[in-house]
């Protein structure tokens, strides 16, 4: 089992708790990412503020009731999946 997982949607890296050896951690992508970062002058003050974009295909590992199987629960959204990191 990998030690960490990298979210392919937002690039976040978090502990892999799928084996049940630790308390479960449910990653959820932020709802927005920075599209263009602020541009600052030589004194460090902003000339152009940052712009934001919705996170593309966000992943949310939190659970919701299964739409077809009452009593069961499924991940809210798989997003773009994860990459295992040793």
């Amino acid at each position: 089992m990998a030690k960490f997982l990298k979210c392919n949607s937002c690039g976040g890296i978090y502990p892999d708790t799928r084996d049940g050896k630790a308390v479960a951690y449910f990653h959820a992508c932020p709802d927005q990412l920075i599209e263009t970062h602020a541009v600052c002058d030589a004194s460090g003050k902003a000339i152009t503020p940052a712009t934001f974009k919705p996170t593309p295909n966000p992943r949310n590992e939190n659970l919701m009731p299964h739409p077809d199987k009452p009593g069961e629960y499924v991940m809210i959204s798989e997003g773009s999946g994860v990459t295992e990191i040793a």
């Binding site: 937002c10 978090y14 049940g20 308390v23 951690y25 629960y73």
Partner: protein, 297 residues
């Protein structure tokens, strides 16, 4: 010659198996005794178990004792491994009086594990249907290396008790992006403290990090922060109930945060950093919470 003690009693007192010469005043009825518990199960009744857990791979065992209509006291065990989050299972005993329940974890757990267990009576045959609960027998928490059950410790609703103190290592955001942590389903948290590290790139900019808390939609808290972090530095940020007015002599900045803030599922804790640059990197947040199970929407 006997010394001390009552007349006709040996000096060292009566031995456990010896017949006392003085008869007790109280008599006990050894037959036709009604059950000590009032909980009668009919043929159609099922024992319902509903759990909320914070980790998978928890092997839980429910041991039970029951009195049959034939007057025999029997015992049994029901082992189940609930999925993380809410789960439901059931079993049947037939017609009997339920005498006791004991619940414990069979396998080794990890720091911060808990399972909130509800035991009741249902006649719902298929658990895929909305389960109708006819009676609550007991509910409470099962922690590592402890047991619980009925009768015995009074029932605890999900929000009762001291809760479980946990330290959580969150998500390291992608480079140039903000931290975002979400309270999971079926959890209630009291946030104790949060620790963050921001390493800035060489790009000239005055970064001013702040913490925000929202309910998944509406922001209801933003920590003020008058202190800017320059380029090519690594600074620590830690929550505090005292607003820091001037730059620290060391590299730690206190961010104002409510004391014992209670959050429920889908609530979020995020950073909002003015002038964050593409090469800046937030570390994974480390935060301590007190955690309970929750059935709040």
């Amino acid at each position: 010659m006997a010394t001390g003690g009552a007349p006709l009693t040996p000096p060292s007192g009566p031995q456990p198996t010896a017949i006392q010469t003085t008869k007790p005043f109280v008599n006990f009825k050894p037959s036709d005794v009604p059950p000590s518990q009032f909980l009668y199960l009919q043929q159609n009744d099922n024992i319902l178990i509903k759990t909320i857990t914070n980790s998978s791979n928890q092997n839980l065992s429910l041991q039970y004792r029951f009195l049959t209509p034939q007057g025999e006291i029997k015992e049994g065990q029901f082992v189940f491994t609930p999925t993380v989050g809410p789960a439901t299972t059931s079993f049947t005993l037939g017609e009997c009086w339920l005498l006791s329940l004991g619940i414990q974890r069979l396998n080794a757990g990890t720091v911060g594990n808990w399972a909130h267990v509800q035991v009741g009576i249902t006649r719902t045959a298929a658990l895929g249907l909305p389960v109708i609960v006819h009676s609550m027998i007991w509910e409470g928490y099962i922690y590592n290396a402890t047991f619980n059950g009925w009768p015995g410790v009074p029932s605890k609703e999900a929000y009762d008790g001291a809760g479980m103190v946990r330290t959580i290592l969150g998500t390291t955001p992608g480079v140039g992006n903000e931290i975002s942590e979400t309270v999971p389903l079926n959890r209630r948290w009291t946030v104790q403290s949060i620790f963050l590290t921001l390493t800035t790139s060489a790009a000239v900019a005055n970064r001013t990090p702040a913490l925000t808390v929202d309910d998944g939609g509406f922001t209801f808290f933003v920590s003020p922060n008058p202190i800017a972090q320059p380029a090519s530095t690594a600074s620590f940020y830690s929550t505090s109930q005292v607003q820091q007015g001037a730059a620290s002599l060391n590299t730690t900045t206190a961010l104002l945060f409510p004391l014992n803030l209670q959050l429920k599922a889908s609530y979020r804790i995020r950073t909002s950093t003015t002038n964050l640059q593409a090469g800046d990197q937030w570390s994974a947040p480390v935060y301590t919470v007190v955690e309970w199970a929750s059935s709040e929407a």
